[in-house]
Symmetry: C2
Subunit: 146 residues, 2 copies
C-alpha cells in the first residue's frame, strides 16, 4: 500500500555511482552523507541492488560500481530490487471486513481482480523510466560530473 523513499534513495545512489564512480571510491558512508540517510540503510539498499545484479559491491576494501548500462536499469528493476514484491499491495485494503456480510466476504477478491490491472499499468510505467533518463535530467541542471 505504499512506495517508500527507498526507491528514490536507490536512484540517488545509482546516479552518484554513475557520475562519480569513475573518479573516486564510493562508500556507504559517502552515500549516506549525500543522501542524508544513515549508512545502514544505504548498505541494505546497495546489498539489494547487488543481489539484483545492478551493481557490484566489494566487501572489505569498499566501494561500488554499476555493472549495467544506464539504459537497462529501469525504475521497475530498482523498485523490485529494494522493495521486493511491493506492488502486490500498492493499494491498501481494510483488513477486517465482516464475514457475515456477503460484500464483506467477497470484497477482497472483488478488489484484487481490478487492482491487478492497475498494478500491471504501474509496472509498465515503471519499466518505461530508466537511469539514463535521470542522468539526462541531472545533466540538464548544469551540474555535470566533476
Amino acid at each position: 500500500m505504499r512506495i517508500s523513499a527507498k526507491c528514490s534513495i536507490a536512484v540517488h545512489c545509482l546516479l552518484f555511482l554513475h557520475e562519480y564512480g569513475g573518479t573516486q571510491k564510493v562508500t556507504s558512508g559517502l552515500l549516506a552523507l549525500s543522501t542524508g540517510c544513515n549508512p545502514v540503510m544505504i548498505r541494505s539498499i546497495m546489498s539489494a541492488m547487488k543481489k539484483a545484479g545492478i551493481i557490484q559491491v566489494t566487501a572489505g576494501s569498499g566501494g561500488a560500481v554499476l555493472v549495467l548500462p544506464p539504459e537497462e536499469i529501469t525504475l521497475y528493476r530498482v523498485y523490485t530490487a529494494v522493495e521486493g514484491d511491493g506492488l502486490r499491495d500498492l493499494i491498501g485494503v481494510h483488513s477486517m471486513p465482516s464475514a457475515l456480510c456477503p460484500i464483506g466476504r467477497n470484497i477482497r477478491v472483488v478488489l484484487q481482480k481490478r487492482y491487478e490491472t492497475v498494478r500491471e499499468d504501474m509496472r509498465r510505467s515503471l519499466q518505461s523510466v530508466t537511469l539514463a533518463d535521470f542522468i539526462a535530467e541531472y545533466r540538464k541542471t548544469g551540474s555535470g560530473p566533476v
Copy 2:
C-alpha cells in the same frame, strides 16, 4: 508516498450502497459493521464522497444513496475524493539530501520530472476502472443483491 486503505473502504461502501441501498437505510453504523472499521472513519469517507458529488447523505434521519451511475464513478474519482491530491507523493523521496553535494542539491527536481510521468500513468489507470467493474466482479461471486 502511499495509497491507504481508505480507497478500498470507499469502494466497499459504494458497492454496498448499490446492492442494498434500494431496500434498506444504509447508515454509517451498518457500513462500519460490514467493513470492519469504525463509524467515524466511515462518516469521514462518506462525507468526502458527498463533497465530491458521488453520493448523497441525509443528516439526521440517516442513510446514503448513489447519485451517479456506476459507470461514471471511476476509481480515480473515488481516490481523489478520499485522499485529495495524494498521488502527488505517490513515490516517497528522502527528505534530507545534502546541499553540499551537486547530486543532493538536484535530486528532488531530477526525480520529480520523471515521477510525474509515472503519476500520469497511474492517474490514467485509475480512471479506467469504475464502480461498474467492481459490481460486475461482485456479481460473479454469486452473491447477488438480496
